[in-house]
């Protein structure tokens, strides 16, 4: 490991406070460097090293122990040993990142607008329209926040219970940072000062037929407004255009979904006709637009108990999102090229 570079301090006539501040920053930078170095040298070999080691050891015959160690090395090459309290695994989401970045930059050519409306620090509740059968829109909003906002913040998306209970998808979502959508989780995250993304339409939005595209469903019962009022977090309305076309749902076979525990079973032009190929989303052109934050601190936490106020704000946010969608649709010439 290379030794961290120590930058010698200038010795101007600066007063002690300045010097202390500079030292503090230097210590912070060094600690950061140390942390990163430690993370990269955690002593876990990568998958290739593990495979090579196994091949070498195989000359002595295969044993349970070798197989288990190999498996464990492969597992930890893309998982960290610790997760946060919601099950987010930083290394696992780093592993998935290239795939999502490909989808973001090349497949859907996402155009993000208004990211300056996002708070640079502190809590914020991003409220977006939900569409696209599978929760890709949440991942793309997260990437927009991560890549297009100067503070490089990450956003915790609240995943519908329906997704959070599906086999395979549930652990995937949880490890990559999504959180089960319920008021307690949202409040806990906002109180920690995180950016939280929520889709108040819920299942009604993500599972709506293709003919109803870009028509917002009811925004739940305004639960997201109540949480924002209680925590004082600003609401940032967000409009996603393009996600409706990735899996155009032309029909539903709910008799198929019921035994699988799904609220709906989508039929798209490619699914289930083409089998696994049906899971490949269509390459529409996306845009993600953030609007001015709606500040609620003036109402105070008591506002959460006022159903009329809650409904009014909810309706206001909904119409903002609908207006942004309509504006974008009016300017859009092609589904595929924007």
């Amino acid at each position: 490991m290379s030794r961290p570079k120590v930058v010698p301090l200038r010795r101007p006539a600066a007063d002690d406070a300045d010097e202390a501040e500079a030292l503090r920053q230097q210590v912070c930078a060094l600690e950061d460097q140390l942390r990163r170095a430690r993370e990269s040298s955690e002593g876990r070999p990568g998958p290739l090293v593990a495979a090579a080691r196994l091949l070498q050891e195989l000359r002595g015959g295969l044993s349970w122990e070798k197989a288990a160690r190999f498996w464990s090395d492969v597992y930890f090459s893309y998982h960290s040993e610790d997760v946060d309290e919601f099950g987010h695994d930083a290394r696992f989401s780093e592993t998935l990142m290239p795939l999502f970045e490909f989808l973001y930059a090349i497949w859907w050519r996402v155009e993000a607008q208004g990211t300056t409306h996002l708070p640079g620090e502190g809590a914020g509740l991003i409220v977006a329209n939900h569409s696209g059968v599978l929760p890709y829109d949440g991942i793309m909003i997260n990437l927009a926040v991560r890549h297009e906002h100067p503070a490089r913040r990450t956003c915790r998306m609240l995943a519908l219970d329906m997704f959070a209970l599906l086999p395979f998808l549930a652990p995937l979502l949880s490890r990559s940072g999504a959180v089960r959508a319920n008021p307690d989780n949202a409040e806990r995250l906002l109180r920690k000062g995180e950016l939280v993304g929520v889709f108040p339409e819920g299942v009604k939005g993500v599972g709506k037929p293709f003919k109803d595209r870009y028509r917002l469903a009811r925004f739940g019962r305004g639960g997201f407004v109540r949480i924002a009022l209680r925590t004082g977090a600003p609401i940032i309305p967000c409009a996603v255009v393009g996600a409706e076309e990735i899996h155009p749902m032309v029909g539903q076979a709910n008799w198929m979904g019921k035994p699988l525990g799904l609220p709906y079973f989508p039929i798209t032009p490619t699914f289930p006709l083409l089998g696994p190929l049906g899971f490949v989303p269509l390459p529409s052109k996306w845009s993600i637009e953030f609007a001015d934050p709606v500040r609620l601190d003036a109402y105070g936490p008591e506002g959460a108990d006022d159903p009329i106020l809650v409904n009014r704000i909810s309706e206001e946010v909904r119409s903002t999102v609908q207006r942004m969608i309509d504006g974008r649709l009016a300017r859009r010439r092609s589904v595929w090229f924007g």
């Binding site: 349970w64 040993e81 549930a170 490890r175």
Partner: protein
């Protein structure tokens, strides 16, 4: 603090024995009464009453013992962590035994009862919130006998706390213990080279180090807050990470098969747990320890991962020894 004695039921159980030892060191053996069919180590110098809670007249015998020994508070730790094949005996001990103990305690004028419980009483369900708090209503019915007995014990405790205001009741819901000295059905399953898990499911699990559990119970005995407390580590760990940290081979079983297979193995005497337990590796039951932090002033010093690592060091003391050498 108080003049009366502290009685410990299930004094030969893992947690009961550890607590008895710690309490004997702190208060002296004379301040304690061990209630168990098995005798405590004589070196502790505690009084021993061999009362079997499953006997029909056990409440009468308990009442006499409480009066004679001037028992002032009771720590009730006579519970099975692992499922029993003799379900009637388990029911008599856990549900009916708790009822007899509580009625004897109320009749003898005992001031406080501490009940050992489990975070598993919340049940593992898809609808569970990410953090289960103490005010979460407990499931009303369950097909799992192990769980039903624990739920009934908690119901008895809650109803006695309501009916007898003079009797303080503290319920401590411990997360699954994992660490040095722990031998339960789930550590037995974990000790195999191949550990089954469910295909497509990887819930977060909480593992509580026994030292943390003891510390929390001692803190509760000292402060005597009434009500229910989750005793849980701060950080959960995904089940797959747990299996790989132990260098085990995970065997992914499709869940429709898992329930049937577990039941069949249990019925034939090979399996370690009936099919009802499959829910606990399918859905999370992560308890929120905020109330214990606030009111008991206790928080776990080991995370789930550290508890697991302590267990692995205990099972494989040489560190480098894989599962093969150690089990041989």
């Amino acid at each position: 603090m108080s003049s009366g004695r502290l009685a410990v039921t299930g004094a030969a159980s893992f947690l009961g024995a550890r607590l008895l030892r710690r309490l004997a060191a702190e208060r002296g053996g004379d301040a304690l009464v061990a209630l168990d069919v098995a005798a405590p180590p004589p070196a502790l110098g505690v009084r021993h009453r061999a009362i079997d809670l499953t006997e029909p007249a056990s409440d009468q015998r308990l009442l006499e013992a409480f009066r004679e020994d001037e028992v002032e508070s009771v720590l009730h730790a006579a519970f099975f962590t692992s499922p029993r094949r003799d379900v009637t005996h388990a029911h008599e001990l856990e549900s009916i035994g708790t009822l007899s103990l509580l009625s004897a305690a109320a009749a003898a004028g005992v001031k406080h009862v501490f009940l050992r419980s489990f975070t598993a009483v919340y049940g593992a369900a898809g609808q569970n919130p990410s953090f289960l708090t103490e005010d979460r209503p407990l499931p009303s019915g369950t097909g799992l006998r192990w769980l039903r007995d624990k739920l009934e014990a908690e119901q008895h405790a809650a109803s006695f706390a309501r009916r007898y205001p003079g009797l303080g009741v503290t319920v401590l819901r411990f997360a699954p213990l994992f660490g040095p000295g722990v031998h339960t059905f789930y550590t037995r399953i974990f000790d195999h080279r191949v550990v089954p898990m469910l295909m497509g499911f990887d819930p977060l699990v909480q593992l509580l180090h026994p030292d943390d559990a003891t510390e929390a119970a001692l803190r509760a005995i000292e402060r005597r807050p009434r009500g229910v407390f989750n005793v849980a580590p701060s950080h959960p760990i995904p089940l797959a990470t747990m299996i790989h940290l132990g260098t085990k081979i995970p065997l992914a079983v499709p869940h429709p098969i898992a329930y049937v297979a577990a039941d069949a193995l249990w019925a034939t005497g090979i399996g370690d747990a009936p099919g009802g337990f499959v829910d606990f590796v399918r859905y999370p039951f992560v308890a929120d320890g905020a109330k214990a932090r606030r009111e008991l002033g206790w928080s776990a010093s080991y995370s789930s991962r550290e508890a697991l690592e302590a267990y692995l060091r205990y099972r494989h003391p040489r560190g480098e020894a894989g599962p093969m050498e150690a089990t041989a």
